[in-house]
Amino acid sequence: MKTLIEGAPSFAYLNVELEPGESIIAESDAMVSMDSAITMKAEFNGGFFSGVLKSLFGGESLFVANYTNNTNQIKRITLVQNTPGDMREIELNNSSLILQPGAYIASSLGVKLEVRWAGFRSWIAKEGLFKLEASGKGCLWYGGYGGIIYREVRGSYLVDTSHLIAYEPHLKIKLQLAGGLFSSFFGGEGIVTRIEGDGKIALQTRSVSGLSTWINPMF
């Protein structure tokens, strides 16, 4: 499988060349265009039970799509996320990564997708009730709204809610006020996400909830 991210950083999209017999799993509605000979099949997102949970409470899609090249020639497919922004490829080697709702774009067959309970705290932080854990061996593609920033956390780090898109599973996520009561609510930051432990995180430079608050402000 040959892949290439083009259009980055503003409008990253993923071009995939599938060899005969190869498949790629993609978020539902991620397909932009493809050779018509590629077969598409819907699968449960992280198994039936977690798929249903995720769809009911997590606002995520119940299904993911499996695209397979059943011909004997190379076939092309182009995938994209809903928001304009950048995209990253990460190689999982029996490691795992937690993705926030909306960040997942595609993965190769060796990557296992599981839905985990993220808790009400995460929901208050506008990060969703559920989180997606990708593990196993293979390639994973995820994206964000705007640019993507990597940070190596040592000890603790604060992130504005809804800007976190991916983190390593051993990191702990907590909520707290950005500053004192006054600066938290009048300084425009409100509640922030506190990340504790040692590991890598990925942030997006824009957030959809930020845009919607700008379009219809609370006050």
């Binding site: 932009v32 050779d35 598409m40 099949k41």
Partner: protein, 228 residues
């Protein structure tokens, strides 16, 4: 007329330089800036011509009712045009006898030698996620198209599938039909793709990487209903 695309692909704008007396036609609302002595004429069709019918049809296609015709003064001048959403602009050199079908909303501006008309693509357009009418460009000259996201061309010689909402333009020598993305209808809808367009024939099509409707859906679910 000379065209330079600046600040692409994210925030593309077209800088159009005109010689004395030269003119071009743009979608209403596309102009950002222009020389002080540039003449503007607003009509519903070609420069100096009207016609409510065509204008109404253009409105149905997702374009504006009026077209603006810019004409440079005797020193020549420039006009900057751009689209509403962030995205790219492409220039297409239309040759005599060629016919380009453009998704309603993707048309930005064109040289006077280009004839813009509406094209009815049949009932299938109702399901394509695009407007019922498409824009048909004939004649000779430059035509500028805009997109939400990047524009990429695809050479087609066997059936090729494009998700609805992602097509920018295609030559009329190609045909499309509305079909399902997966092996079965159930799979197509469960997989989130639903209906797609399948192009057949030999030629080049242009797709946009992003889709206003998908972005809009992610956004509107986070908006609060208006009170009162």
């Amino acid at each position: 007329m000379e065209v330079k695309i600046q600040h692409g692909p994210a925030n593309a704008a077209a800088q159009i330089s005109l010689a004395a007396g030269q003119s071009f036609t743009a979608e209403a609302g596309a102009m950002i800036a222009m020389s002080g002595d540039m003449g503007i004429e607003t009509t519903t069709h070609k420069k100096g011509k009207g016609g409510i019918g065509r204008a109404l049809k253009r409105m149905v296609s997702g374009e504006s009712f009026f077209l603006n015709h810019f004409t440079a003064g005797n020193k020549g001048g420039e006009v900057w045009v751009s689209a509403t959403l962030p995205g790219d602009i492409m220039v297409y050199d239309l040759k005599q006898g060629e016919e380009l079908v453009i998704q309603g909303g993707s048309y930005l501006c064109s040289e006077p030698g280009i004839e813009i008309d509406l094209s009815w693509q049949g009932m299938k357009s109702l399901f394509s996620g695009e407007s019922i009418f498409w824009i048909k460009a004939t004649g000779q000259g430059k035509i500028l198209l805009n997109s939400f996201g990047a524009i990429y061309p695809v050479e087609i010689d066997e059936p090729y599938t494009v998700d609805t909402g992602h097509i920018v333009a295609y030559p009329s020598a190609l045909n499309f039909r509305i079909t399902k993305a997966g092996g079965s209808w159930i799979s197509s809808f469960l997989g989130g793709e639903g209906l797609v367009m399948e192009f057949t024939g030999v030629g080049q099509i242009w797709c946009q990487s992003h889709n206003q409707v998908s972005f809009g859906k992610s956004l509107t679910s986070t908006l609060r209903p208006r009170k009162g």
